[in-house]
Amino acid sequence: MDFRPTEDQRALRAGVRALLAGRYGREALRASVDTGVAVDRGLWRELGEAGFFALRLPESEGGVGLGLPEAVLVFEEAGRALVPGPLVATHLAAGVVPGAAAGTAVVTAFDLGGDLVAHLGEADAVLGAAGLPDGEPVRAADPLTPLHRVAPHRVPRRGDVGAYVAEGALLTAALQVGSALRTVELAVRHAGEREQFGQPIGAFQAVKHLCAQMLVRAEVARTAVYAAAVTGGAGEVAAAKLLADGAAVDNARDCLQVHGGMGFTWEADVHLHLKRAWVRAEQWRTAAEAEELLAEELLDSAG
């Protein structure tokens, strides 16, 4: 037993982090926000070339032949960098929808449990659906997750996407963990720099303890995500999503509180983390669904 990432896994993570730092740093992120263009086709292809989407496809099918543990590590990095777009759906579509694996196709999914779908206007396909349905654009709270509302008869039945729910939830949880870890960093950096009453605000216990609880939440959620990636257990996947959703949302809010008025501005990145965390919390599996699934497994295990 060595639960820590292997050297290869760490190298993979570092590679993706470096790619994103160069290709989707803060300026690129803010440029996306300003233009309202969430999916950058060039970046999408580069991610595809780096194996982001084909990661778990067997080498015989042109994939990288790795597993969920590697996938959650790279998705964590994407969450940290706030990369927009239907990363999870496209990854799940690798080997199913042509071009998904290579990043030449953008694939979204009906993962919001209803008639809303994200990134429809930028997508080439919808996972588990025949063709691209029409949709009415809806003004979205997250500036980098455009939404459309689709006629109810064009929403795929639960069964058509059921096979993807667990993996979709887990990879989404990994994105949440990346965001939760990133907001700890943002809060700590601000708390160390911002001075009030003659000292950095991070010297005040109230701020210090907010930051400490943020780290606790993020670390527990990260562990749950890694464990679920290793074992693939249904309960562990549900726990991963539940804890990661909570960590991402609560950390973004605490990060905002640490930032004070500055955190309330459009210019700060905090709100982008919070809004994206809200989106992801609705994707694939909500907290109530995860808790019910866990309750069921608990009762089964108790015999």
Binding site: L116, A141, T145, G263, F264, E267, V279, A288
Partner: protein
């Protein structure tokens, strides 16, 4: 313990209700949030109607041109206008609730005569220049400098979180007039015309996507010494006196609005089926209980204010604000649970409200600062070293 109203108060409410029923349908269409001149005109128009009907400056002292109403009458006014869906105080906020009361309490006769009537009549708009980028919770550390030059102050610095700056006539400005003094003792209160040379307004976009606030940059702006209210370097005390004007009524309209929102949430949940989830239903039930208690706490504070000299001290408000700001954020989280994925759409009004509510635990004293105030000033716990 009496929660009934006097005959006089009931009569006041009835007449107000009648007037609102008659007046509100006559109002012009509301301007769009981005139309600042339109908003100014709309808000001032509403203020003029209040003035003509005798409701302007309800809570101001009579000698300042106000109606000298009791806190209870003010509570009734705020409750009824919110219930009826009347316009929010809007552009008149600073004039009616902060700068005006400050001038009424601390200004000279000439200053009162110059600045108060236009506020009551709906002729002039004030904005507030207190906060600075580097002085958030630590407001008294503000650095905008005012240097005497003859009969003027020459002012350089920047202010932030200024509402209605684009359309204001005057700014109540806190400036540092003595950089050598302890931080609370070197501040002065000035009335600055917003069209003075050297004033630049830059809209500040919030996370809700709106530009409700602005930054105000001051580059050698000249303000006559005669437009200082109160003594030089006494501005911190001068600005604190207005807190007592509020007399427990600061959140009346907002609590009424939250209670209405809860009712709408219940109806929506009933309609979309989520009401059948006992966990969500109980969450809404608990919030209904909490906002009911907050309404009663408002009545308590108003009762205190009505019978005590000088109104409610700011520290009583800290208890209320801590409970209220938390409950209101929780209200919009519950709204998101009622809406499900639809809460991700800005077309649901609660989504925008949810975003705005993120400021409640930060603005006007963060919850951390409020807890310090409660612990030190009410509970008497020692200051940290």
């Amino acid at each position: 313990m009496d929660l009934t109203y006097t005959d006089e108060e009931r009569d006041f409410r009835a007449r107000l209700r009648e007037w609102l029923a008659k007046t509100l349908p006559e109002l012009p269409a509301r301007p769009s949030p981005d139309d600042w001149p339109g908003r100014r005109a709309y808000d001032l128009g509403w203020q003029r109607r209040l003035y003509e009907a005798g409701y302007a400056g309800l809570h101001w002292p009579v000698d300042a041109g106000g109606r000298g109403a009791t806190p209870t009458q003010h509570l009734i006014f705020l409750e009824e206008t919110e219930r009826a869906g009347a316009p929010y105080v809007g552009a008149n906020f600073v004039g009616l609730l902060h700068a005006g009361p400050t001038i009424a309490a601390e200004g000279t006769a000439a200053q009162r005569a110059r600045w108060l009537p236009p506020v009551l009549r709906g002729d002039e708009v004030w904005c507030q220049g207190f906060s600075e980028p580097d002085a958030g919770s630590d407001l008294a550390s503000l650095r905008t400098r005012a240097v005497r030059d003859g009969d003027d102050y020459v002012i350089t610095g920047s202010k932030i979180w200024t509402s209605h700056a684009e359309v204001a006539d005057w700014c109540e400005l806190l400036v540092r007039t003595d950089p050598e003094a302890p931080k609370h003792r070197g501040i002065s209160w000035l009335a600055m015309p917003m069209d003075a040379p050297g004033v630049t307004v830059r809209p500040l976009r919030t996370l809700a996507g709106s530009t409700e606030f602005a930054e105000v940059f001051l580059d050698e702006v000249r303000v006559p010494v005669a437009d200082r209210v109160g003594a030089e370097n006494d501005g911190w005390r001068v600005t604190m006196v207005t807190l007592s004007f509020e007399r427990g009524t600061a959140f009346v309209g907002e609590v009424v609005a939250c209670r209405r929102t809860l009712g709408e949430l219940a109806r929506t949940a009933k309609a979309n089926g989520r009401w059948d989830d006992p966990a969500l239903r109980r969450r809404l039930g608990r919030l209904y209980g909490e906002f009911g208690a907050l309404w009663r706490l408002t009545q308590w504070n108003v009762s205190e204010a009505e019978r005590s000299a000088g109104g409610v001290p700011g520290i009583g408000g800290s208890v209320f604000k801590l409970a209220y700001s938390h409950a209101r954020q929780e209200l919009y989280d519950a709204a998101a649970e009622v809406l499900g994925a639809a809460s991700l759409s800005l077309e649901e009004e609660w989504t925008l409200d949810r975003l705005s509510s993120l400021s409640y635990t930060i603005a006007a004293g963060t919850s951390q600062i409020q807890r310090n105030i409660v612990a030190e000033r009410i509970l008497g716990l020692p200051k940290g070293r």
